[in-house]
Every structure is written in structure tokens, then in C-alpha cells.
């Protein structure tokens, strides 16, 4: 693997939930992210996949400290983000950016596109007139210079997502967290935005954390993939190893549940049907959190939490009875 840019170790995020149950007040803890560790190399893309409630978005936000993690460490280019003072963190944030899912909610409707894109430059006190930079950024993401004077409502979803990307690129970040960046877009538009991410990476060399529930998109763009279930990573490794030789039963079931756009393959595929839904993160199952839906579960799965262990095809997975 290339040089390490980001190292996340034992990241934990618990949210407090106040349940107002009539006269009684109860405090409950939602364990959104539990002991998550991974690293991202320079110029690499890590795909973070999982179903709703798996904690993938929380991980992304904890990395940028948009949410304060409960414990654990995030090291960016050798610096521990947790130990930084506010001003230092702010300076470092220019190297880390985020692009959100909803291209309609992430742009201020009253700001021109040009001022939205130059805002990060102003916030970070980059001197000078930014109009040339704005034009350069607009052209970089496939828009044109005269778009700078327009307002968000004049753009389609795909174009707005490009504007969000231009804004994230303004400060030449080394890492961009892409949180479901194409899920709100129509299929025919998605492909263009995915190509844009790939082109930008090969030109500018930044790393991506690509958070998505769409496994086909992640397979296409990621170098490495981490599969999350109920706040934990159940399997992590090279994209090819995870997709072609999944070893965690959840990964296997998840992959088999994704419908592929090919009727012949669909008819011949062996499908694993999982029972039920994802349990509540307020009271996750003991031991392996997947055991309540796992067809391989035995007593040991309830008693002992499986650790991430290296498997023959090179990835790591946390299971007492891994698939081979």
C-alpha cells in the first residue's frame, strides 16, 4: 500500500438518547460506532459500505471532527486530530473536505455559485481576489466560467453536485469524504459524476473516503472496502478480495442481495435471504452483532466477540465461522 494519509484507531461514538417516557426519564446510549480502525493511503479510495444505521456516515463525520468522537484517535498525516486546539484544527481542515449527499440542501440558495465556491478560501484567509480560482475550479468540475454568477436553483442535481465538489476542491485538500455523493442523482447522471471523481483523483492525487450504500458504485471506485454492520467493521480489505471472495457471512449476504442489471445472471444466482431487519443500535446483540440474522450462528457467537482476522485472500473479517 502507498504511504498512509489517515489512520483511524478504535474510533467510538456513542450518542445519548433521552427518552421521555411519561413521568420517567431514561437515558439511553446509541452505540453508533464501536471500535472502528482503518487507514487510507495517499491517493487511495476507501469505500465504506453498510445499510442504514451501520454508522458509516458517523465515521465520516468523526474523521473531520464535525462530530466529536467519544474515544479513539484519528491521525491525519501523522498528526493526532484529537490533540489539536480549535485554531490548529481549523488550519488542518483545509486539507480535509466533505461532499454531502443532497445537492439541494448543501448549497446556500441566496449565494451565487461563485461565492459558495470561494467561501472556503475566505474562511481560511487565503489572500487575493478569488475570481480566477473560482473559474479554474468550475472548469475543473466540467462547468463553465459564466456559471459563477448564477444561483443554485438554476442548476440540475448533477450540476449542483459538481458545484459541491468544486467547493470541496477549493483548498486543494488531501482527503475528501464523499458521503453518498451520487445517491440522489439519476442513473444516467451518476456515471458522469463518478468519472469526475476518478479524473480529479488521477490529476490531483487526493484520497477519498467514499461512503455509499450502493455496492456496485463502491466496487467501481474503491481500492479498498470496509463493510460495516451496526457500528462495527465486519470485513475490510482490497476491493477485489472483498467482492470476489467475501469471508464474512454478512458481506456475502449483502452482495448476494444486490440486484445486478443482467437478467441471466440474476436467474442463476444463489441468493442468501437474511431474516428480519437490522437490530437497534441502542441495545445491540452481545458477541457478534450480526448473529441474530446469521445462518451460521452458534453459542460462541453470542458469548465471544469475533476479532478482525486476516483471511487467505488478504482481507480481514470478524467472524468465528468465516466463509472460505
Amino acid at each position: 500500500m502507498s504511504e498512509e494519509l489517515l489512520k483511524v484507531t478504535n474510533l467510538v461514538k456513542n450518542f445519548e438518547l433521552r427518552v421521555n417516557n411519561g413521568a420517567r426519564r431514561k437515558k439511553r446510549i446509541v452505540q453508533a460506532v464501536t471500535n472502528v480502525s482503518f487507514s487510507v493511503g495517499k491517493g487511495q479510495t476507501l469505500g465504506l459500505v453498510g445499510e442504514s444505521g451501520s454508522g458509516k456516515t458517523t465515521v465520516g463525520r468523526c474523521i473531520l471532527r464535525l462530530i466529536e468522537p467519544t474515544s479513539g484517535s484519528v491521525e491525519f498525516d501523522g498528526q493526532d486530530l484529537g490533540s489539536l486546539k480549535f485554531e490548529e484544527l481549523r488550519a488542518l481542515r483545509r486539507k480535509m473536505q466533505i461532499v454531502f449527499q443532497d445537492p439541494f440542501a448543501s448549497l446556500d440558495p441566496k449565494m451565487t455559485i461563485g461565492s459558495s465556491i470561494s467561501e472556503p478560501l475566505i474562511v481560511q484567509n487565503v489572500p487575493g481576489d478569488h475570481s480566477d480560482k473560482v473559474i479554474e475550479l468550475l472548469e475543473l468540475v466540467g462547468l463553465s466560467a459564466d456559471h459563477a454568477q448564477r444561483f443554485p436553483h438554476e442548476f440540475s442535481g448533477g450540476q449542483r453536485q459538481r458545484i459541491g465538489v468544486a467547493r470541496a476542491l477549493a483548498l486543494n485538500p488531501a482527503l475528501i469524504v464523499l458521503d453518498e455523493p451520487v445517491s440522489a442523482l439519476d442513473v444516467s447522471i451518476q456515471a458522469g459524476v463518478i468519472n469526475l471523481f476518478e479524473d480529479l483523483q488521477s490529476r490531483l492525487g487526493m484520497s477519498y473516503i467514499f461512503i455509499a450504500h450502493d455496492l456496485s458504485v463502491v466496487r467501481h471506485i474503491a481500492d479498498r472496502v470496509a463493510v460495516m454492520y451496526l457500528g462495527k467493521i465486519v470485513e475490510i480489505g482490497e476491493q477485489q478480495a472483498v467482492y470476489e471472495h467475501p469471508t464474512h457471512p454478512y458481506t456475502k449476504a449483502l452482495l448476494s442481495a444486490v440486484p445486478l442489471p443482467d437478467p441471466k445472471t440474476e436467474r442463476s444466482r444463489h441468493r442468501i435471504m437474511l431474516e428480519g431487519d437490522v437490530p437497534s443500535p441502542v441495545n445491540p446483540p452481545s458477541g457478534c452483532r450480526f448473529r441474530t440474522r446469521c445462518w451460521k450462528a452458534q453459542d460462541v457467537c453470542a458469548q465471544e466477540e469475533p476479532m478482525l482476522t486476516i483471511r487467505p485472500s488478504g482481507q480481514m473479517s470478524a467472524c468465528h465461522f468465516p466463509e472460505s
Binding site: V187, S188, A191, H213, H220, L260, D262, P263, D277
Partner: protein, 326 residues
């Protein structure tokens, strides 16, 4: 050939908006045969939902609907509210993306199913309740007699969608319209719901219209597929023909834009969907089409048999053969 249960002819739907009339559906012809699963695919704004809301008579009064929709011999366009009420839920049912808003939060699940049963059948309360529990069992809800006494908030998203399906099939309708029924669900739950829909279709011979933007879902469950673009039906045929040799440039573009295993570069369709307030003349896709010629801006193309597909493209015969996606 199976019996035709739903026949849509030259359907047009126009909304009056502050910026002028917007024609969301611009002449759709479509047939559904008994027992088949028809996939309807298209991007947002293609008119796929509006077509079937018009079929159900569920559009607001300001929508102008013309054309013909014949369900089991009955004309639904221009039918009286009373006639529509008798058809909906009995011959024709529809389920939506968000199951929570389809259920009444203050009534028990069992009662909501019974209500549907008793509004079309002469059943006693206790018979309806028994049938409701049977229906919950059919859609795969464990402990149906206990669950029937619970409220919607006590069900997960996937379970709620099962309940909605149970209500929709309560009177054994001829056609079940499912509008993006799994879009709000996680992929493992989506697989379960698709299985329930297939089970219902096989067990009761219900014709199912599945509206979705996901070509993977279509490939998994549909028998035939209908591709919509800018309020028109641009291509239809069996899924095998459509995935194997799509002939409409839009269908080709859509299939080519999907990520597939292997790292080849994606091929997006250039441009963006048309503004329906002012759609392009002629074939609405010509502004984005790599094969467009002057002739495409002329007349609105209609579906013409082309091999084993029906394609609305005047140049279909002149185009190079498409790659196979099957």
C-alpha cells in the same frame, strides 16, 4: 397469450403550473397481461409515476387527463368517483415508496386490513379479522395474530411494507401497481420485499406493475419492461431481449452508464433530462442522443416493432448493433 387486464391508450396528463401547462405524460400506450410482472423504468420526471396515478384516478383535480385506461373491460378515464372507489382496492391496488405514510398511525394493523376487506366484500368482523391474519402470514409476518393487534410504529420499515402489500392484495386485485416499493429500504430488506411481491404474483396470478429507477431490480423480477423518457414510452419488450440487444439509444445509454464488475470507465449519457415545460420537438431524447440526426427533430416517434422489441426511434434500423448487457 395471457389475457390483457390493463390497457392504456394514448394517455396524456397535463398539469397547469404558474409557468404554464406541463405535459408530464405525452401519449403512453401500455398493456399488462394477467399474471405478468411488468417493470416500468425511467428517471425522475419521466412520467412513470404519473401514468399510474392517472390509472388509479389519484391525480389532483387540476390535472387534465385524456386517453383511455381499460381495466378488465371498464373504462377508468372519466369514471365517476363512486365507480373508481369500487375499482380501487378490488380490481386495482397500488403501493408506494414510503409504507409509513400509507398506514394510519392510530389504527391497529389488523383493523386496517379488515377495513379494506369489508369495504369490498360482505364479511363479518370476525371473518375479516381471520382473513387479515391469513394475509399477514402470506406476506411473511411472523406471529401474525399478535402482530395484527399492533400499531404501525411497532413495525420496522420492511415489515410495514409487507403490511401495505397485505392491504393491497386483500381483495385479490387483478393488477397491483408498486411504485418504487423498495427504494426506501435497505438492500437486504429489498430482497425480502421483492420475494414477497413475486410470491403474491405466483400464488394469486396477480399482474404486477413495478415502477423503479433500478435496472437491477427490473432484471431480477420483471418479465417484460417498459422504458419511459420525457412522458413517453420509448422501448418495450421482454427483459431478455431488452438487456441483450436494446435498440433505443436511451435504453442503450442507460444500460451502458451502470457500473459493472471490472474497472472500465463509465459512459454517462451527456446532457440532462429535458425541462417538461418546454420539451424538445420531435424525439425528446435527440438533445442527448449520440445518434441524433435532423430527422429526429421532426415527428414524435411512436413504438414500432423492431425485432422482438418495440422501439420509438425513427433511426432504430440505421443504428449500429448495441453491445449486449445480458
Amino acid at each position: 397469450m395471457a389475457e390483457k387486464v390493463l390497457e392504456i391508450r394514448d394517455l396524456h396528463v397535463t398539469f397547469d403550473t404558474p409557468s404554464g401547462p406541463l405535459e408530464a405524460v405525452r401519449g403512453v400506450d401500455l398493456d399488462v397481461s394477467s399474471g405478468e410482472l411488468l417493470g416500468v423504468v425511467g428517471e425522475s420526471g419521466s412520467g412513470k409515476s404519473v401514468t399510474f396515478l392517472a390509472t388509479m384516478g389519484l391525480l389532483p383535480a387540476r390535472a387534465r387527463v385524456t386517453g383511455s385506461v381499460i381495466l378488465a373491460g371498464e373504462q377508468l378515464i372519466g369514471a365517476s368517483p363512486k365507480q373508481l372507489r369500487s375499482v380501487r382496492g378490488r380490481l386495482l391496488s397500488m403501493i408506494f415508496q414510503d409504507p409509513l405514510s400509507a398506514l394510519n398511525p392510530v389504527h391497529r394493523i389488523g383493523d386496517q386490513i379488515s377495513e379494506m376487506l369489508r369495504s369490498h366484500q360482505n364479511l363479518s368482523a370476525s371473518d375479516a379479522e381471520k382473513r387479515a391474519i391469513e394475509l399477514l402470514d402470506i406476506v411473511g409476518i411472523p406471529q401474525p395474530s399478535d402482530r395484527a393487534r399492533q400499531y404501525p410504529h411497532e413495525f420496522s420499515g420492511g415489515m410495514r411494507q409487507r403490511v401495505v402489500i397485505a392491504i393491497a392484495i386483500a381483495n385479490n386485485p387483478k393488477v397491483l401497481i408498486a411504485d418504487e416499493p423498495t427504494t426506501a429500504l435497505d438492500v437486504t430488506v429489498q430482497a425480502q420485499i421483492l420475494e414477497v411481491i413475486e410470491r403474491v404474483q405466483e400464488r394469486f396470478g396477480t399482474a404486477v406493475v413495478l415502477i423503479t429507477h433500478d435496472l437491477g431490480v427490473i432484471a431480477r423480477v420483471a418479465d417484460r419492461v417498459n422504458v419511459m423518457y420525457a412522458g413517453r414510452n420509448v422501448e418495450q419488450g421482454t427483459i431478455d431481449s431488452l438487456f441483450d440487444h436494446p435498440s433505443h439509444p436511451y435504453t442503450r445509454g442507460l444500460l451502458a452508464s451502470l457500473p459493472r464488475p471490472g474497472k472500465q470507465r463509465l459512459k454517462p449519457i451527456t446532457g440532462f433530462p429535458p425541462n417538461m415545460l418546454n420539451p424538445p420537438t420531435g424525439c425528446a431524447f435527440h438533445t442527448r442522443c449520440e445518434f441524433a440526426a435532423d430527422i429526429c427533430q421532426g415527428e414524435l416517434p411512436s413504438l414500432v416493432s423492431f425485432g422482438d422489441l418495440e422501439t420509438a426511434c425513427v433511426r432504430a434500423r440505421d443504428l449500429p448493433k448495441s453491445e449486449s448487457f445480458a
